[in-house]
Point group: C2
Chain length 380, copies 2
């Protein structure tokens, strides 16, 4: 059977909150953040082994990172690495890759994934992705993954699922869960856990703490992980319906795709696209959006604190990446340095110690939101 | 007039308390500790400019450091760099250099100086050294420099000067202070400050705090800086009188000095010398010892804390060597890294941050006495 699964990785971010490990020259997706020997980008691709071949992996990134991507993903066709000449948020980026894939693979079924997230339970991740791809192969719907919230996090957007009045039983797609044929008809029906694919009522922006607590109490709210699944036909339709201007721009670019002049056309035309996120451009408008509640140990790894939570801790609750580091009377620290770096850290409690490319940062973990300003202080 | 002044620098220490800046491969005397562009060894020689020429500078060190010494002191005759095959404390080291100098320069007048101390007021230092050399040129006496104590330091030995009963007026050598001829006769006589050269009553080992406080209250006690001045004839006499065995050993070595086989003879015979400090070997026995109380901003720079006290402080009382270091919300820290090293240190109070040769140490200043154990933890 033909494998129509394609992985689209968005890898254009600069990761300023992870300075100095992450720099504009080599943002965090290109770094072995977890000390596993694989960069976050490589781990992202690794998670799709058995789901889609490397020839069907696509990376959208900045021109600056082309060589890094090709080096880190051996076997990826060079034409699968799409280079944005400037940042225009996620909608133009997704339109570009969708139009390109559609030209050669009109039956393609896509997973859109960030490049810098982590997943602890890869087996469960694969189960969810595989089931999600089955869903979008059979339904002309947009599917998002909704992370089961474990705390009233104010740093993420939330997805609200359609619920019955008693709040316990969301609408589900019975034909899909029953293995039926494609449909977008919905029959409200109580189901046993695990809740699977559910219709979306609304996308919610990052809430304040009180609202986040209310979401958790109420139930039916999931973290928006920025992972989307859809067929290329579905997303093109959505662009034509909700972003006709963007669709027209990429229709005009279309003849150049895979041609010698693709990059020069993109360099000229891409900057003309409006900068808009896929959430604003499509998600908040479309009515055929579903969420797949999932729990596979996900983190967007947005900050040192979130990394700290995902690393192994020693007996003093230090999370240390760096084989040459000795912690003496130190606790609650996260350390990230090269394995050949020798370091003794004594008497530190609750600090980040990170080094990359000849730049060392020591800062209090509680002050990590201000890392960007610390990095700027070096240029003064 | 012939310049008989010779400078003897003892540069064999390993400086373990200054790890990681100081390592066995390159101890602190060979490092630009103060960030001035000159190593402590070079600063030691610099302080004697105008007092003795580079051809009359002698360095006694370990064989491992020969190349470093020759590189850091251009113009020093290679035969002036004496290489100990092993550490035998200060008395054999001083005997070796004394016998060698005596063979060619029987009229030599020597200053013995450590290589890793610092002096803030070089002008006053030169005045004291010059006057001290005049004293020993005219007197067959041993002269030590006594540092005016500014606090009840328990880390130094003390020199007690001979005092009158009222404690205010030490014995002085009137002929010397009057510019008279050589003599070691003493006439008790009240003098006005500044107190100059005074006879020594006793050397005192490192006291406890209570005793140190008593010394300061009593007066007439000075820190033993390990800086000695004497003619080569005087010190040879002292060895013959108080350490006849050592004297005999170097009399036996004497024919080889300046010869092609000097090093091989030293390599064979030096290890046979007993390990004994010059204080025990000579100072505690001789009766012709004088002290020159001096105040030229001296520090033995034994620890990071003492370095901290001698560096310029920023508005938050950080002492920073390293032009690429940015201190953010940090105070009372001492930082010592290479000038091309980039570093942001945030939220640290009272820490040492030091780096050398790929090894970084962060530790609380108050725990600096345990640095040796921190350095050892890296080898576990």
């Amino acid at each position: 059977m033909k494998n129509n699964n394609h992985l689209v990785i968005m890898a254009g971010g600069v990761g300023s909150r992870f300075w100095p490990m992450s720099t504009p020259e080599r943002p965090k997706q290109f770094i072995d953040v977890l000390g596993t020997g694989r960069t976050l980008l490589q781990l992202t691709v690794d998670r799709f082994s058995g789901i889609c071949p490397i020839s069907q992996v696509w990376v959208v990134t900045s021109k600056n990172y082309k060589d890094i991507v090709l080096e880190q993903l051996p076997g990826i066709p060079e034409e699968n690495v799409l280079l944005e000449p400037c940042m225009r948020n996620t909608a133009p980026c997704i339109a570009y890759v969708a139009w390109k894939i559609a030209k050669r693979f009109p039956d393609a079924n896509l997973v859109i994934s960030p490049s810098d997230h982590i997943v602890m339970n890869v087996e469960e991740f694969k189960r969810v992705i595989t089931k999600g791809l089955e869903f979008t192969a059979m339904n002309p719907n947009i599917l998002t993954l909704g992370m089961m919230p474990s705390r009233p996090e104010t740093g993420y957007g939330y997805i609200k699922a359609v619920c019955e009045d008693d709040g316990s039983n969301p609408y589900v797609d019975p034909l899909f869960t029953l293995g039926g044929t494609a449909t977008d008809a919905l029959i409200p029906e109580p189901v046993e856990s695990p809740v699977e694919i559910v219709k979306v009522e609304a996308f919610k922006e990052k809430p304040n703490l009180q609202t986040a607590e209310q979401y958790l109490q109420e139930g039916g709210y999931y973290w928006n992980a920025g992972i989307f699944i859809w067929s290329v036909a579905t997303i093109q339709s959505a662009f034509r319906k909700y972003q006709p201007e963007l669709a027209a721009q990429f229709d005009a670019i279309q003849p150049a795709l895979y041609e010698a002049n693709e990059q020069s056309v993109i360099d000229e035309k891409f900057p003309e696209c409006k900068a808009i996120s896929i959430d604003y451009a499509i998600m908040e408008n479309a009515d055929n959006i579903y969420v797949f509640p999932a729990d596979f140990g996900w983190s967007d790894l947005g900050t040192w604190g979130s990394l700290y939570g995902h690393l192994e801790h020693d007996e003093n609750d230090n999370a240390v990446i760096g084989q040459g580091v000795r912690m003496v009377e130190s606790s609650d620290c996260v350390v990230h340095v090269a394995n050949d770096r020798k370091m003794v850290l004594q008497g530190l409690k609750g600090y980040i110690v990170a080094e990359h490319n000849g730049v060392l940062m020591v800062c209090r973990l509680e002050d990590e939101q201000r890392i960007k300003s610390f990095s700027e202080s070096l240029n003064k």
